[in-house]
Amino acid sequence: MSGRLTVFRPRLFPRMEIPTALLANAIIAGLLLGGFYAAVSVGVSISFGMLDVVNIAHPAFIILGSYIAYIVNDRLGFDPIVVSLALSPLFFLLGTAIYRVYYLCFERRGQESLRGLAFFFGILFITEVALVLVFGVDYRMVSTRYSDVTWRAGEVDFPMRLVVPFLVSMAMVVGVQLLLTRTFFGRAVLAVAQDQLALRLMGVNPVRVKELAFGLSIATAGVAGAFLIVIQPVQPAIGREFIGLAFAVCVLGGMGSIWGTLLGAFVLGIAESFTSTFFGPSWAPAVSFGLLLATLAFKPSGLLGR
């Protein structure tokens, strides 16, 4: 079989032979993974990058989204992603409520940096424990019609388990970007990030804008949660793994830029899939987070940062 594989030779390492199919698959797998990472990070990009709210509990809301998608799927059999989209207004409301508390307790008093952080840390644990108490610590997973379907184009596979979340995620990210650039609300959000005074002159209450934007951020977390449980089994504490990842994507791509977040997600996805395919998978997290450290040290504004 290996005899008829076409081979790609990198110019830098002429002795290295990389089967073209492996390379193509690594790129596709990286992009699909990146699509999921984008969904995980887009909310953080809004809250952290634009609103300056360091919500490290974001992954906890993702896991909450996973479990809600799981219950509805388990009881009623609806597709988890459809469920999450239908329930996203609820997450939106949850987000606005949490921002209210956050604003009243911290931002208004100018204490957001440290205590706000601790507040979200607390929320992270409370959510986690609540999920443990309700569902136990076992891994949960949903099966959908496309879970075990793989579409093949030549030698490249497209597992639907990743393709479906990828497509919905792309639609969501593009939707968020359009919302932010094409609507009055969006421009107000961008103004919050840059110039609160101008915003007041526009006659808009920045707190209200931030509240809505934070709601949007949590709504994306709910949807990302449904992706997660389609892709892999979920247990309550798994969210912690994504804290670093979500912030890494945002910082790598450039704070406050949705396209930057998308790019950062693809970079990390491809870095992970390349490390897994060609070197040792064990080093994948070190490569991703090493990239982040290098970005922080040498180009802290990120790839597409303002």
Partner: protein, 420 residues
């Protein structure tokens, strides 16, 4: 008047005291036998910890129903170790010095056994442990005993069956890929696999590890496929077992034999999650329903266990850990009865010398406290359809390939033709 009623009150009080004293004396003779341990009731291994606890409680109730041990009722004192080793020294010193338990046994897994070892060794206690991986190789403590049936050298015993089965294929395979998670058990299993590979003169074409929280396993499986191995040995924990089996199906992994050390398919959760994706996978198990007659007492235990497990939301099958948790207590029970007391030296000596008849069969311990011989069964899944849990309670889906005394069928290869 108070003054006048004083003597009778005093008399009554004295009488009551005398009765109470008598009762205390009686109670002293009948004081319960307290057994202490830490168990993972929260944290990543809580599922297993809870299942083990249920099995041990069933044992306690069985023993107490028969009048206890040496006429003493058995009582448990246990604390949640949160699957965190850092909690273990505190728990065991509390059990021994504050709760004054008569005996201690371990919680589930290497992580929480090892930190208790120094305490046991300083006090010369006999220590029965549950599913530790070669913990005693460094401590070399002669009162340590372990109930998982991996044999005197667990690393070797673990994959012995897998490689025996692989080498029984015709023609003999020559290339092998091994992969596992970056964690304690997979690292040990891979080490054992490497030893077998070296012994058998196989050629390693892939030998890598991955972080257990990987989201997408398909790049790993593709990288393995690119090396065209005839054997793929995997050592993984439940979430990554699921990820790898899934990826093997998506990528369409072509190899002759696949599996070996996947932790997870032993439990109902993963059996039902993966369902038909498990077909063709060769993997270790400690029990299969096809073996019913070879473990005559296990059925009674499983019936009791499954009834309680359903209520408490833990592994509803109970083929893996619970019978061994029960057996661990049986060994202790038999040793106490045989030595007629709690003398730790005598207990250890007896356990070393004797053979124990337990629900998981006859058990004998090697000098290092592990089982004298390995009984890790290598099995192959087949004919699984849908995600229903009931099918796994019935014979016919798990064929035992190894060891020969339990063999119920032969391996079907190559893997990719038995998938689905």
């Amino acid at each position: 008047m108070p003054g006048r009623s004083f003597p009778p009150v005093l008399g009554r009080a004295l009488g009551a005291l005398a009765i109470a004293f008598g009762l205390t004396c009686a109670a002293l003779a009948q004081q319960p036998l307290k057994i202490g341990f830490g168990m993972s009731l929260t944290g990543p291994l809580a599922g297993n910890g809870k299942a083990a606890l249920i099995a041990m409680e069933i044992w306690r109730d069985d023993v107490n129903a028969k009048g206890g041990i040496l006429g003493r009722n058995v009582e448990f004192v246990y604390y949640d170790d949160q699957t965190s080793p850092a909690t273990v020294p505190g728990i065991y010193t509390k059990l021994l010095d504050v709760d004054k338990v008569d005996l201690v046994v371990s919680g589930y897994g290497t992580n929480v056994i090892a930190p208790a070892m120094p305490i046991m060794m300083q006090r010369n206690l006999t220590f029965m442990t549950l599913f530790g991986l070669n913990v005693n190789s460094k401590f070399k403590y002669d009162r340590y005993f372990q109930i998982m049936p991996a044999g005197p050298d667990p690393a070797i015993g673990w994959s012995q069956g897998f490689f025996e089965v692989a080498m029984s294929l015709n023609p003999k395979p020559r290339t092998v890929a091994i992969v596992g998670a970056d964690a304690e058990y997979p690292a040990m299993a891979l080490e054992g696999a490497r030893a077998h590979i070296k012994r058998l003169g196989l050629k390693v074409v892939y030998d890598k590890t991955y972080p257990p929280n990987t989201v997408d396993y398909s790049p790993i499986v593709r990288a393995i496929q690119a090396t065209n191995p005839e054997i793929v040995f995997v050592a993984s924990y439940p979430p990554d077992s699921a990820g790898i089996v899934r990826a093997a199906n998506e990528v369409g992994l072509k190899t002759r034999i696949f599996g070996g050390g996947l932790v997870g398919p032993q439990f109902a959760a993963l059996k039902t999650q993966l369902g038909p994706l498990l077909n063709g996978v060769v993997n270790y198990e400690f029990y299969a329903p096809d073996l019913g007659k070879k473990f005559p007492f296990l059925d009674q235990f499983l019936a009791k266990y499954q009834a309680r497990a359903a209520k408490e939301g833990v592994d509803p099958l109970g083929f893996y850990l619970p019978p061994y948790a029960y057996a661990m207590m049986q060994v202790l029970e038999q040793a106490i009865k045989a030595t007629g007391g709690l003398d730790q030296a005598k207990l250890a000596e007896h356990i070393h010398e004797s053979e124990f008849d337990t629900f998981v069969g006859k058990v004998r311990f090697a000098a290092n406290g592990e089982w004298a011989s390995s009984r890790v069964m290598m099995t192959q899944y087949s004919g699984i359809s849908g995600n229903d849990v009931e099918q796994f309670k019935k014979p016919g889906h798990i064929t035992v390939l190894y060891p020969s005394e339990y063999k119920t069928g032969s391996v079907k290869a190559p893997y990719h033709e038995n998938r689905k």
